[in-house]
Amino acid sequence: MNPIDQLRAARPAHLDDTPVDPRTRAAELSRAMARPRQAPARRRIVRPVWGLGLAGAAAAVTAVAVTISATGGTAPRAPSAQVISSPATTTPRIELSGRSILLAAAHGAARQPDVTGAYWHTVSVSRNLFEAADGDYTVVDPQRNEVWTPSATGGEQWSRTRSLGAEPAGPDDRAAWERAGSPAEIQVKSPKMGDSPKSKGFTLSTEPGAARDGHAPLVDGDKVFWLGRNVTMKDLRDLPNDPDRLKAWLLRSYEGHGTESDDPMSSDAWLFAVTVGLITDMPVTPQVRGAAFRMLADLESIEVVRDVVDAEGRTGSAVAIEERVRAKADAKAGEGILRNRLIFDEATGRALARDSVVVRPGGLQAGFAPGTVWNSETVLEAGWTDEKPAS
């Protein structure tokens, strides 16, 4: 069993969500509200300021459920019966030899210049879908994430996050939102989580939030990314250039189950999850990025599709793998299928985005129709800089 699941199960009973006793409630509320409010010196800052993770005010199972859906589950043996018909963002048009597309990307990636600097700097936008609590429409909640990762050890990793403001996901959703009076604050449901004790949902603001900066020392002074295990910048730069040796290096961390769960996971599915992170987020050398595409080209259970549009409207090719997802690690019912995709530019081997498309509704995606892009992360910038972070 996963240690996190074990820890969750071991949570002392008195920490459960029982109502506060009325006397304490009255005392605490009156103590708080007896104090003067801070005068709003500046204009009202629009909420939300914080990143709106999926878990939010949701139940204790959320974090692991989300990570399972991101990386866990088993790779299905047979293709699912349902076909992706994606109205909003994806229109696969031409089926080509997947292998040749990936090899082209590998070639393009390896020809990119290898320039390094003081910081690896990335800007991405993550989007998650939520169901509106009142009215039948879907809301997308985009957040801009900027990260500076130092190339030197002993430094700090910096980040800047900003909510871009929630909006109706598509034209039909917008029409339904307008019928609901175009609320600036949209009450949404928490993702469905089996027997979760709490699923009250929360509010998303349609107004952009303020930027939030953060910085923290590197873990152990030198670990910068997770690649099946925690790695240093040197580990990343020293990865093997050869697809087979790269695969062997990565698989040393594979133990037969999902990256964050103990659900059985095929080595293909595991490699795909870890390699997408490598290609999308990490400052590996052009040769290693090329080797990563070659390695993907040799996996049995992947599919490649051309002319896929990412959440920013950019067209690229996608390599995808299907994944079974459940809302809770031990839930038997409600299993769904997601198609996890890496969308890339064939000419340069650069990642445009990664996303998850609902193939069969279930798990956390139970409320979404097949073809829905349930979440995505688009890469706007990824490169080295000598400029100091977020000053």
């Binding site: 820890l7 009973a13 708080a32 800052i45 300021v49 005010a57 692991v64 152990d220």
Partner: protein, 173 residues
């Protein structure tokens, strides 16, 4: 009731016990009510700044209140008492595995423990939990991986001391 006090009250009702549980798991029951009370007093004063969902913000405030007002050694002592209570409570219902997990948790550093508690007991996503501790989600993931590994090591050590002894005897032979 004004809009503000209505909003504040419903935020309190939704989050109070979650904040309390977080503080208890950081510093024990003795100080919990005091810290929670101060946290919500701050939330009222700064209601303009409180985002939705409010929980990660409130946990971040509670964390600062703990750090600024309760000395580290008092936190530690209070928590040790708390942890003893966890592992001694409800003896009839105790399962060895549960005890083992809690003991492993108590053996970890405060930082590791916090990260695991935010994830497993508060159910926060890496994005939200990173906000509470003030680091990037990327960094949080790396820290979580390390904390998880350390927890597992401690659990494994407690369950099966035999392999270690065998290694030792191999070294001696």
């Amino acid at each position: 009731m004004t809009d503000d006090s209505q909003r504040f009250t419903s935020m309190y009702d939704e989050c109070r016990q979650r904040v309390w549980a977080y503080v208890v798991s950081r510093a024990g029951r003795q100080v919990a009510d005091e810290v929670v009370s101060e946290t919500f007093a701050i939330a009222w004063r700064r209601l303009e700044d409180v985002p939705e969902p409010a929980l990660p913000w409130l946990l971040g405030v509670a964390r600062n209140v703990l750090r600024d007002n309760i000395r580290a050694e008092i936190r530690r002592d209070a928590l040790s008492a708390e942890l003893r209570a966890w592992t001694e409570d409800d003896v009839a219902e105790q399962v060895t595995e549960r005890l083992n997990v809690l003991k492993a948790l108590t053996g970890l550093s405060e930082d590791d423990r916090e990260i695991l508690i935010l994830t497993a007991w508060q159910g926060l996503s890496p994005r939200d939990a990173a906000q509470v501790v003030g680091c990037s989600p990327t960094t949080f993931r790396v820290r979580l991986h390390r904390a998880r590994r350390r927890l597992k090591q401690r659990m494994d050590t407690a369950v099966s001391p035999e392999p270690r002894m065998r290694n030792l005897s191999e070294e001696w032979s």
